[in-house]
Symmetry: C2
Subunit: 391 residues, 2 copies
Amino acid sequence: MISVSEARNLISQNNTKRKFGELQLLDALSCSLAESVPSPIDSPPFNQSAVDGYAFSNFQCDLNKPLLVIGEVQAGNVSDVVLKPQQAIRIFTGAPLPESADTVVMQEKVLLDSSHITITDQNLKQGSNVRLKGSQIKSGQLAVDKLQLLNPAAISFLAGIGIHKVNVFLKPSVHIIVTGKELVSPENSISNGEIYESNSFGIRAGLNQLFINEVSVEMVDDNQDYIESCILKALNSDIVVLTGGVSVGDYDFVALALTNCGVKTIFHKVKQKPGKPFYFGKYQDTLFFGLPGNPASVMACFYEYVIPAIHEFMGKQTPKCNYLPLGEAIHKKAGLTHFLKGQTDLVTVKALAGQESYLMNSFAIANCLIELQEQKEVYNKGDLVKVRLLQ
Amino acid sequence: MISVSEARNLISQNNTKRKFGELQLLDALSCSLAESVPSPIDSPPFNQSAVDGYAFSNFQCDLNKPLLVIGEVQAGNVSDVVLKPQQAIRIFTGAPLPESADTVVMQEKVLLDSSHITITDQNLKQGSNVRLKGSQIKSGQLAVDKLQLLNPAAISFLAGIGIHKVNVFLKPSVHIIVTGKELVSPENSISNGEIYESNSFGIRAGLNQLFINEVSVEMVDDNQDYIESCILKALNSDIVVLTGGVSVGDYDFVALALTNCGVKTIFHKVKQKPGKPFYFGKYQDTLFFGLPGNPASVMACFYEYVIPAIHEFMGKQTPKCNYLPLGEAIHKKAGLTHFLKGQTDLVTVKALAGQESYLMNSFAIANCLIELQEQKEVYNKGDLVKVRLLQ
């Protein structure tokens, strides 16, 4: 049985496949760039007024005397006027400066007298209120680096320099195999001995939050042949998540079936609670996560291992965890890392009642997982603990 | 000009419409419940073994003597055996206990001798390793409360009690109106005086992250008649976001056009940087956000006002902000709340270079916005500041 950190390292070391391809800019949201993007243009593409005001040449003008306003340039237009000494042009935010202008005075800082302005801005300097051509980025300069996550602001930046397609690391395809003779879909009704199948719902919801849309689900009885045939069909997926049947009971066929199908066991069993029977294996580039079937074990392992692996598959960093002070003391036995359903206001954090692995009523109101270290037994109120926020 | 907190309050007070409807469980991800959900079943629906082991009646057995194993029950099956004194039944995790059994011993804690087991578990008590019927929730009890956010674990919990449809607050429809004569779509090429339109991309990406799919975009010249006709077409949307043209330049028609269309101005101008000309209005139940056109102003106002308003529309709490120590001192003038593009590792936070409202290269690598208070001028290294994490 290995530790949580060993399990994490082994998953990371075996998570070597990357898929990449060109996507339309908006479709690349939440992906990371597979190659760096140079700017195809100078941005701004011209000397641009930052305000509504008047543009003039600082060299040619005595600012203690009025300037004659000889025209106007609106954003989206171009003025080819050549300004002479003591001449200015009305200009608006975003409009290009005429070639002969180098400075803009804000409209609030002039006195306007029919066609003349007198400048009242004592702090005005050459270049004031002008965004120089290329001052954000020059053509050919690195705009966004390889591996950068494309969040909405990055998408906006790329659009603004004229990029409408990008090469990104693609999302994995995920196949879910839910094992369990006792499971019935929630659309149907249960007979004695049966329970509603919920794990595929929790996992699919989590995948939806990551915008993973290549997802398929198969439900299968606790029968080794059936499970093997499901696994064989899944070998071409990027990631396979199995739930249930991964322990060592007489009807726990998952690990054996995976081995029979040629999947190499990387590890089986982790010193953690919940989810001790957790299995991880690999067939060629396909990663196999065998999650113990109790629903809280499934969700904890999904958040702690599967989601980070998906992030890594996509060339992304897993969101960092918070370290927050406990609102109440917690005691545990040494020997296992604990993942507790918790609630936090980002100031303190507390563990919820109902930590057993079959209880989802507590998980439903949890907004974080609290990680308690394997060897530590006593956590006092105020001790900092690692907190993984859940969306 | 009002303060940021006054602006937030006014938006909240005017954000009164709620839409609700029944969705398939998975489609309700990230929505909040419009009504509380009682459990339709006892969960577990029967007394269930928590382990692989042997079930017996604690009353009927002398645990110092061997028990005869008279049968087996797998998860998904039912055993109707009636256990007699000193009899046990082989049982697996999740399987229903026979009516006559009340206790399960783990298979690791027995000595098995052909058909007899000897129990070696000194701590075994009546009820050990049994999940009692209804111990998670009883039929008719409140399962998930009204307004609870449906995260993946809540989805899993609801599926597990047989819920496959839920009544939730629905997402708003959003119409985006991008104004600006100078704007060209990034698929095309720009001529002198033109720039690429990026704001609709940033906003759409942000809406995609919230799973808002009823989104439409219209681009319009800086022409009051055109803008008014766009606004009139948008009056049936739940939320309308306009970018550009909201200041007081000669070509800033947005506020006037909104008034002409019957939209009531709730406020115009906020003591903040960026985004001082920010406008908010209302027509019947439709909310209008007029964002200044500089792309960093658009994204800052979108994150600080539009996203919280969407959360509130959907009956959700806006994700809480962190309070983190500054890694470097910051000085600012009093009078405006500042929203700075920042980077944080959740331990400290620092403001990025490039805070001007036209610069998106810095926003593209920001993972948070830092809020600096209106009246405060000096922030020292280590001072706690409000940090809004960006996805």
